[in-house]
């Protein structure tokens, strides 16, 4: 919560990285599994700091799923034990504020539960840290700064320099996670900490049902050649109204964003 109070003596190997892991859900069977984005986040973390990576989960902690993350080669993890219908945010925020890591990795959105994709932002708000959305790769840490690659649509990437600490959500474009090995996963330790979870009152009232596919508007493409069809399929949507501001001052840029948000009714 007070980043400036932290030890600024960062060295590339000494940074503390926490990866948040959630209970995934297989799209076909609905069975609990290692979530695809979270697993990518763990992979990223492993490549960054090796087994120094801390895995963190708030919830009941389905053992098979936890162990399938651990099977990626981590000797232990931290479990903030609370009932599954409790809100993960308060306990995570409280724990992270206490542990003050340099970097928190998450998936973009969970595969089960609320899956709103809000967690990284809410955490960022609570901790007062920047949030980088949808990253694909992380470079080396130099003087407390690190270059991350943000994944944009259609395979584009944006390089961003960020000062630690921050929260990054990991996109599917990141490197695929390594195979989970049963043996090490089974032997790894799960440090369970009891928490007094806050029951997510809103969520308890919900009913879950399988999603229905939204009907899609048919796009009629009048293309004669395969090349045209390919273009039509890959072309950027012609939104038009956008504006790229590169040379303006930060204040002008911020003003433009604010104006836009007001215009769209996001901020009143």
């Amino acid at each position: 919560m007070q980043p400036e109070a932290r030890n600024e003596n960062l060295n590339p190997t000494g940074i503390k990285v926490v990866s948040l892991i959630s209970i995934g859900q297989h799209p076909q069977s609905g069975r609990a599994r290692r979530a695809e984005q979270d697993a990518r986040a763990v992979e990223l973390g492993l490549n960054l700091v090796g087994t120094g990576l801390e895995l963190l989960h708030a919830g009941e902690g389905d053992e098979t799923v936890m162990r399938s993350y651990l099977g990626m080669g981590l000797p232990k993890m931290t479990l903030l034990k609370q009932r599954d219908h409790c809100d993960a945010l308060p306990v995570l925020a409280e724990y992270l504020a206490r542990k003050v890591p340099d970097l928190v990795l998450t998936g973009v959105r969970a595969e089960s539960g609320e899956a709103s994709g809000m967690l990284p932002f809410l955490l960022g708000e609570k901790l007062g840290w920047p949030v980088i959305n949808r990253i694909a790769a992380i470079g080396e840490v130099v003087d407390g700064e690190v270059e991350v690659l943000q994944a944009l649509p259609r395979g584009q990437r944006r390089a961003i320099k960020v000062r630690l600490p921050f929260i990054a959500s990991v996109d599917m474009a990141a490197e695929a996670p390594r195979q989970s090995a049963y043996g090490p996963g089974r032997r790894a330790a799960i440090d369970a900490n009891a928490t007094d979870g806050v029951v997510d009152a809103v969520r308890t009232g919900w009913q879950e049902s399988p999603a229905r596919k939204k009907p899609k508007r048919l796009k009629v493409v009048k293309a004669k050649t395969a090349a045209d069809r390919f273009k039509a399929a890959t072309a950027k949507p012609q939104g038009g109204g956008g504006k790229v501001m590169k040379n303006e001052s930060a204040t002008e840029q911020a003003q433009a964003v604010l104006d836009m948000l007001v215009e769209e009714g996001v901020i009143r």
């Binding site: 297989h26 076909q28 069977s29 099977g71 195979q179 043996g183």
Partner: protein, 636 residues
């Protein structure tokens, strides 16, 4: 003779060295993991296992079997008599004459060994093995001459110094190879290790005409899952490796080797020997792993095998076809060893190559290897009106559909078989969505955790219902249900019969439950699936059934127990280790060589592999499909 005083000393020294070497060798084996065997019963059974079971395999090469009987028998007999006559000095002309006969027999045998070695086939190892026939000849000839005086053929003082020196050299060289070499890792080691390997074999059920092909379960609570270091093998597995005679019969039949993939079962076993004794493979004088040079492998009992001794690619090239095991005269279990090491790579290292990890993840999350929705398992049979076990609870036959349910080509086989079942009025039902992958692929990929989980859940389902037998069109599921689920059933349960569909249809035809016309079409050949043939000994039913249709099979050179794998087993298409050729293409060449227009198979995996060969090529059909074509349908 001058040698009289020296001979007993030399024999004693050689015997002493043999004993010291043997004790050392035994200690190398004992470094392995404990495994209980019945020592006494094993030793008692050993001569029979040698004379009957081993010779049953050796006999496939008549030349070598006669040669070995003469040489080996002659040597054992000679050695016993040498001890009596020359060491203990038993003064009996009878014994001396017997010794003369024994050495003569050994000499004759050795001559044939020598002839075989004149232009040895590439599968045989060279190096010290090229020396062996000469050593055998020297040993036999020397002791023949040395025994002549004792037999009273020539006077004791015959021959001068020169002869004595020559004989002395012969004795030292002969005893050195035969006794010292036996204990200290020379070619003759095979006699000593081989005999004990037969006695303490890990699959004693194989002897006396039995069969033991199911993999042994992993204790999932162990500290290390699978085999990481040579020490991780059971002690009698290490002993088994040491029995290898480097005959290369395994190499000659290995489909992966023939395809130029980096696997040679003989080299693999020799690398295990390097591992258990410590050192490098620089003295190995046989064919290498295709595309890999010899001399770079290094290992020791406590060194991780896949870090320097064996490349993981070698282990993943194997289709688990068991051709090597079937051919090995020393009854070595290559597939067990390969899967043991794969288990370490998958369960401890998380390193299953290519599509391996994805397949295993799918099996864990959806109970089928391709990640289809488990609830769509019965979609193939939407128009078949099949009875579900969950509805009827009881049926004579439980039809195990297998993952072929998700594959359009395999569905044609399933439909054909269902039609036969219905025509013959068989009382059958299926598990429907309650069925899961049998676990075969997971197990061969080394993931025994997933296999056991699938097996246990399948067993739970099977235990809910009453049926007399299980029938399946998939030889892999057949093998697993028949041979590998037993380990997970509660004591005394799981005593159902499992049938492969070809066996079952054959019974139906014999019981006149199906009326069949003759097959109309060109020449037909039959491809034996490994998991039906070598794994379960079913070679006859498919052939009888085809004969019922009036088909005279144009057999391939490699058929029956020598059938060549299609390349689809053991998860090989999933791990997909590159070679120079594709195994399926080679098998299709075998088919073409018979002139057949149709190859009959009994496995959906074989069908997929063989149909994957580019056209023009003979047609590929499952036996169920062929029988359905010949079905005479009664009009009611």
């Amino acid at each position: 003779m001058i040698l009289d005083g020296l001979l007993p000393v030399l024999i004693s020294v050689a015997l002493a060295l043999l004993v010291i070497g043997a004790v050392r060798r035994v200690s190398l084996w004992r470094a392995g993991q404990p495994e209980s065997v019945n020592i006494v019963a094993g030793l008692l059974a050993m001569p029979r296992r040698y004379l009957v079971d081993l010779h049953h395999v050796v006999e496939r090469d008549k030349y070598m079997s006669n040669t070995h009987v003469a040489t080996g028998g002659g040597f054992v007999l000679s050695m016993a008599l040498i001890v009596l006559v020359h060491l203990f000095g038993v003064d009996s002309q009878w014994l001396a004459w017997a010794l003369l006969a024994a050495t003569a027999l050994m000499f004759v045998g050795a001559v044939f060994v020598y002839k075989r070695r004149q232009s040895p086939p590439s599968r045989l190892s060279k190096g010290p093995w090229m020396r062996l026939p000469k050593s055998l000849l020297v040993f036999a000839a020397t002791f023949f001459v040395v025994t002549l005086p004792a037999a009273g053929v020539i006077p004791a003082e015959a021959g001068g110094w020169l002869l004595a020196v020559i004989l002395l050299a012969g004795i030292v060289y002969g005893l050195g190879e035969m006794l010292f070499g036996m204990g200290w890792g020379g070619p003759m080691k095979h006699a000593f290790a081989g005999a004990l390997h037969l006695a303490f074999h890990r699959r004693a059920e194989r002897f006396g005409g039995g069969r033991s092909t199911g993999l042994k379960p992993v204790d999932l609570g162990a500290d290390i899952l699978g085999v990481d270091k040579p020490r991780g093998f059971k002690w009698n597995q290490l002993l088994g490796f040491d029995a290898c005679v480097q005959c290369g019969r395994c190499e000659a039949v290995c489909p992966a080797f023939a395809a130029g993939q980096p696997l040679n079962p003989k080299k693999l076993i020799q690398d295990m020997v390097v591992g258990l004794a410590g050192g490098t493979d620089s003295r190995y004088a046989g064919s290498p792993y295709p595309g890999k040079d010899v001399g770079n492998a290094r290992g020791g009992p406590d060194q991780v095998i896949t870090e320097g001794l064996v490349n993981p690619e070698t282990l993943w090239s194997c289709t688990t076809c068991r051709a090597c095991v079937e051919e090995c005269p020393m009854m070595i279990e290559h597939v067990d060893a390969i899967v043991d090491m794969r288990r370490f790579l998958t369960l401890e290292k998380g390193n299953t190559p290519n599509k391996g990890a994805e397949t295993l993840d799918n099996l864990i999350a959806t109970d089928n290897p391709n990640g289809f929705a488990p609830g769509s398992r019965m979609n193939w049979a939407a128009d078949q009106n099949l009875r579900l076990m969950s509805d009827v609870k009881e049926a004579d036959v439980l039809f195990w559909v297998s993952d072929g349910a998700f594959d359009m080509r395999s569905q044609r086989i399933l439909r054909a078989f269902v039609k036969l079942l219905k025509t013959a009025n068989v009382d059958f039902a299926v598990l429907g969505d309650e069925e899961r992958d049998s676990g075969d692929v997971a197990r061969r990929l080394g993931d025994d955790a997933t296999f056991q989980s699938l097996a246990k859940r399948n067993i739970e389902t099977l235990r809910k219902y009453k049926f007399n037998r299980i029938v399946t069109t998939d030889p892999h599921a057949f093998h697993v249900l028949k041979n590998e689920y037993k380990d997970f059933y509660p004591q005394g349960e799981g005593n159902y019969e499992v049938y492969h569909h070809t066996t079952f249809i054959n019974e139906l035809v014999k019981a006149s439950a199906l009326r069949l016309d003759l097959y109309k079409g060109g020449a037909v050949t039959y491809h034996d699936p490994c998991y039906l043939g070598r794994y379960n000994g079913e070679y006859d039913s498919p052939r009888e059934l085809l004969a019922e249709l009036g088909i005279e099979l144009a057999e391939m050179e490699r058929s029956g127990f020598r059938s060549r794998c299609c390349g689809g087993g053991g998860g090989a298409p999933i791990t997909d280790i590159p070679g120079e050729r594709r195994i399926a293409d080679m098998r299709m060449e075998d088919v073409k060589a018979t002139g057949a227009e149709l190859v009959a198979v009994g496995c959906q995996q074989c069908t997929a592999m063989l149909e994957g060969v580019v056209e023009p090529r003979p047609e590929v059909k499952d036996i169920a499909e062929i029988v359905v074509e010949c079905l005479v349908e009664e009009v009611h």
